[in-house]
């Protein structure tokens, strides 16, 4: 399916879901709007705009069609996915393994493995950055950072 239409369908579903949720919350009355009133209006609006985009996608706009059909052409999109996965893993283990281990692992993996930087940079830059961040947040601003199961 055309990328433009697929995206508009996504937004339509989001708008429709918001409308459905707003009915549960209660629309109230015009003189006493309920919790779902604005959500209902905004949901209808998003769904309507999505329909317009969907219809417009049938109009011939060669330049826009070409741009959208080549969304992932000539770029290393796999790298974006890898970074996303790395961030997700970082978040999942951040509170368990703690600030130091997770931060160093994230930076080292990106710099050494993904970007192919040399060992010296991949170790020293993360080490100094993590130390500086720890000093700023923990020591200066007294904001707690997760110690993790190892206690540091």
């Amino acid at each position: 399916m055309n990328a433009e239409r697929l995206a508009s369908l996504f937004w339509f579903v989001l708008g429709a879901a918001a409308v459905y949720g707003s009915l549960d919350l209660g629309l109230g009355q015009m003189g006493q709007p309920g919790s779902g009133f604005l959500t209902f209006v905004a949901g209808c609006f998003v769904a309507l705009m999505a329909v317009i985009v969907f219809v417009q996608s049938y109009r011939v706009d060669a330049a826009a069609q070409r741009r959208l059909s080549e969304l992932w052409k000539g770029v290393k999109w796999q790298r974006a996915i890898l970074i996303t996965i790395l961030i997700a893993i970082f978040i999942a283990v951040f509170e368990t393994l703690g600030f130091f281990i997770c931060s160093f692992a994230l930076l080292f993996i990106i710099m050494k493995w993904l970007e192919g930087l040399d060992w010296k940079i991949s170790v020293l830059v993360p080490a100094f950055t993590i130390a500086g961040t720890y000093l700023l947040f923990k020591t200066v601003l007294k904001i707690s950072l997760p110690a993790g199961i190892f206690g540091f």
């Binding site: 433009e4 995206a7 937004w11 708008g15 949720g21 919350l25 209660g26 009355q29 015009m30 003189g31 006493q32 709007p33 919790s35 779902g36 009133f37 604005l38 905004a42 949901g43 609006f45 998003v46 705009m49 999505a50 317009i52 985009v53 417009q56 741009r67 959208l68 969304l71 770029v75 290393k76 999109w77 790298r79 974006a80 970074i83 996303t84 961030i87 997700a88 970082f90 978040i91 951040f94 600030f99 931060s103 994230l106 930076l107 990106i110 710099m111 970007e115 192919g116 930087l117 830059v125 950055t129 961040t133 700023l136 947040f137 601003l141 007294k142 904001i143 707690s144 950072l145 997760p146």
Partner: protein, 504 residues
Amino acid sequence: MDLFDNILTGLSVAFQWHNLLFCFVGCFIGTLIGVLPGLGPVGAMSILLPITFGISPVTAIIMLSGIYYGAQYGGSTTSILVGIPGEAASVVTTLDGHQMALQGRAGPALGISAFASFIAGTIGVLGLMLLAPPLASLALRFGPPEYFALMIMGLIILTYLAQKSMVKSLMMAGVGVLVGVVGLDTMTGLPRFTFGIPDLFDGIGIAPLAMGLFGVSEILLNVEQTIKQGVVVDRVKNLLPNLADWKASYKPILRGSLSGFLLGILPGGGAVLASFISYGTEKRLSKTPERFGHGAIEGVAAPEAANNSAAQAAFIPLLTLGVPANAVMGILLGALMIHGITPGPMMIEKNPELFWGTVTSMYLGNIMLLVLNLPLIGLWVKLLRVQYAVLFPLILFIALIGAYVINSSEVDLYLMLLFGVIGYLMRKFEYEPAPLVLAFVLSPILEDSLRQSLIISGGSMSIFVTRPIAAGFLFLAAVLLVSAVLPSVRQKRSKLVAQADENN
């Protein structure tokens, strides 16, 4: 108190050593993130928001403001020397600024950019000083219908001026409202779309949303490509523009300052738009428009002036009406609320030290930025030589830690990642994130004012058209919407979009 008393109050606040220090820190960080492509002022301010928890509200706002207008200065350095805009408002500066650098005139390009920024910043601060108090008095007449109408107008203006499809931008504004309603309903206490997650009861934070949509998505887009940061000069010489440069630039600087200021005041306007419009104006007014895009100094002076005065003017709707004009102002609004201050018409009267202290510090900040950007240019050139492969992991790491420390919440990190992926896909599919963020920020005020208006009127929508100020705002919004559909205007918009595409 008259203006001079107010300025004296402001100076006494701005010259306190800790305020001077944080003003400098803000300007320095602003310049730094302006110079570095990939992290705009929205992301940087969100990350640094927790730092402001431990300091006074005046000092916090002085520092955060410094980051914002500092980024407008710094963005031009990367535009000129590398040909990549360091910041969205510097996209236009790239066209002639980088050409000047290629022709061996990087010094005058950086010099005129800094001086234009300084002059415009000063004009912007003066305008802010003169206009904000009377506007605040006028705003006292605003009730819920006027606020609602003003916000609708702001959102329509932003979507009207969107570079890509207006329908998509309107849709994003709707999505922003939907994201904004997540959390407990302030009137009934009912949880909305929280899915039983306690972290969502207070709603989605501006920091994970903005950092995801602007910061993480930018990184994901950049890692797909091989970024070559080719700095064209080793050492920048002759930073002071000569007489001919000044002769060609002084009128564009003044025009850019004025148009930037007017566009900056508009909710939904702002620095990016101001720079584009002032560039277009100068090209149209020029006797030799063919020089534009090939190193015309006016093409650097005008947009740099415009984006800086717009940055200062954007404070007016926030400080006088409590309505943020753009995402950056939304973060400032959040910062003020955290410190227990509600911006609005009464703020100048109730917190004169905060208002006048912040405004006066902006003038001092402009002087600091002139020093940071001219004598320290060598430092920024060195920074630009750092590989993106080293920079982006660090930016990502700081964003992650910044998002976490605000509430010590893992959920905020997941939200940031989610909005990062959504932002990445949005940019791919040509949906602009700015209307989403602005609508998100405005959503609580929008909802409260809509519900209060309907309660006042007993459920009649006529309240929005029978009150003149509200009717005026809505009329303007309707005119913009209708005109966008007119074939002639649509053609012009399409042409502008095509031009912007070429420029990018």
